[in-house]
Symmetry: C2
Subunit: 327 residues, 2 copies
């Protein structure tokens, strides 16, 4: 069994080889941005989860590398197009494609990445190919739906906490879930084990996103790697803000609404005022409780996996790592 | 054997049913633009060619409907994203999606259409599914490459006629070719017949595009359906302009360059001056000769198809119809 770091290295070697191949394709203005995007880095969490799930049932992880490539390619495609839609200038400290090249380049190179992900998928030799294709395509479409809900919510006044949880499920959690399930399917795992891995990944993904929301307001600048309060300043409808909107009453609610809608308020004041309301309403504790709820569900799935403990231990370590736990 | 009109009706009924299904999906801001795009109409040339190719080898064309849907969905996806990139306001006399909704909507709904095309593809039950998938994905990527070359050429000074022919091959001809081949593969046709149909479609597609270029400068406004001279006014690097640039010498070349680069010239004057050069250099005749060359190649493929004449007659009629011939 390989651990996270080993699978990361293994996948990185595969990815490097594929990047070299893509780099030779023409026209260069189509493929250069694809290479640039793939080279930006990232934790390669999804392909690693896929390979790890595969290894629970089949040692020959070489077989799972094409679908791992497909998942990573698709994930990077969504980041590329999301960055245009969100008007984001930076991704992993690099200028985004639409800034470095143009919007048209970002649209078309993204389209090519989406199709390239299917090119990799078609290299999969598994007898479960049709089901893998089905899970992949279903997930891909759901991610688009998640992105649309995310954009809708930014315009709407009545987004609820439940709406938000559904959205992050689609936009974030199901790709982790699908990565694990596809890895298992490629290894001919029993259907119920593949489904358990899906549930494990879904709940872990939900906990992971809620942790990200929490840290954006309550994290330590030195360890979080982003500026604290970015979500607050941009009025992003996170679990924290939506929970506060649902719980706040009377004067607190007025102060919250005013802080959100004021054009005069400085970012520092806005963060201070909203954090004060968050503390008053115990939003940090509520977010952590929700996160724990999902995390515990994922642990239960892990426990129910019918795989020897020594085989599935690495999966627990990766879950702990994602939640930044040492136990 | 069904003729064009019959296959159009048959496909239209299938498409209407699928549109109703898509219309019920959520979020509505993701799927409404998909429905709007599919309802804009069009000749449904690609799915009809696919069904016709299928019927040469297998009467049960119901089996080919999912892949026909996949092809039409993918084609409409490319139109949607091309319209953003080309900044086009109208498509088939309707406002384009990025005008009616927004660029973000056009990007994301287009992404969903690209994935939906794979959802339909995965409904194909053919034993040749993996090869169909391969042809589909290869073609999809080549179309992106064609669009990139097209955008590159608009910025470059040294585009040749050969570059142009390669580009329209990728952007236009191979989807017609692939539609025919996929229809044949779905019907378990012999491999060489499927390949002949590909060649037939490729050459027909080339002839079709050259005819379009020709008509934009030399067509009859009443029958062409677009304003004459649109390509000339926008300096579009068509077969006509690039051939003229390669053939023009001395004073003619200077006049041509001046007409292209002048910011003062009125559209009417520009059309008049460039048409005069086209006539002088016999660009109309040269374009028609090139078109005939491709068309004759496609006819040769048609003749070599090892299918009884009465079966393949409708395919010849569709080719003639595309070239607007009555013979």
């Amino acid at each position: 069994m390989h651990n996270y770091k080993e699978l990361q290295s293994l996948f990185a070697a595969k990815l490097d080889g594929e990047i070299s191949q893509i780099n030779q394709r023409e026209p260069i203005y189509l493929y250069e941005p694809v290479v640039y995007t793939l080279k930006m880095g990232g934790k390669r969490l999804r392909p690693v989860l896929l390979l790890m799930a595969h290894e629970l049932f089949n040692d020959d992880i070489e077989k799972a590398l094409p679908v791992a490539m497909a998942i990573e390619m698709f994930h990077n495609f969504t980041l590329l197009h999301d960055d245009i839609m969100d008007n984001a200038d930076l991704r992993r400290n690099h200028p985004t494609i639409h800034v470095k090249y143009s919007s048209n380049t970002a649209i078309l190179s993204g389209d090519a990445m989406s199709i390239l992900s299917y090119e990799y998928l078609n290299r999969c030799k598994s007898q479960n190919f049709r089901e893998i294709f089905d899970v992949f395509t279903h997930t891909a479409l759901k991610i688009c739906e998640g992105q649309q809900y995310d954009m809708d919510f930014e315009r709407e006044d009545h987004t609820t906490v439940d709406d938000y949880l559904k959205m992050i499920g689609l936009k974030t959690a199901i790709l982790l879930a699908a990565s694990l399930k596809i890895g298992a399917l490629a290894a001919n795992a029993p259907k119920n084990e593949a489904d358990l891995l899906y549930e494990f990944g879904y709940n872990l993904g939900m906990a992971f996103q809620l942790r990200d929301d929490y840290l954006d307001s309550f994290g330590n600048t030195n360890t979080f790697g982003k500026n604290i309060g970015g979500d607050i300043v941009s009025n992003k409808k996170t679990f924290l803000l939506l929970t506060a909107m649902e719980l706040a009453k009377g004067e607190t609610k007025n102060t919250l609404k005013k802080a959100i809608s004021s054009a005069q308020i400085t970012p520092e004041n806005k963060i201070e005022q909203i954090l004060s309301i968050y503390n008053q309403l115990e939003i940090g504790r509520l977010t952590n409780e929700k996160m724990e709820e999902y995390y515990n569900k994922s642990l239960l799935c892990w426990e129910n996996l019918n795989v020897p403990n020594n085989k599935k231990q690495n999966l627990l370590l990766i879950a702990n790592k994602m939640m930044n736990r040492t136990n």
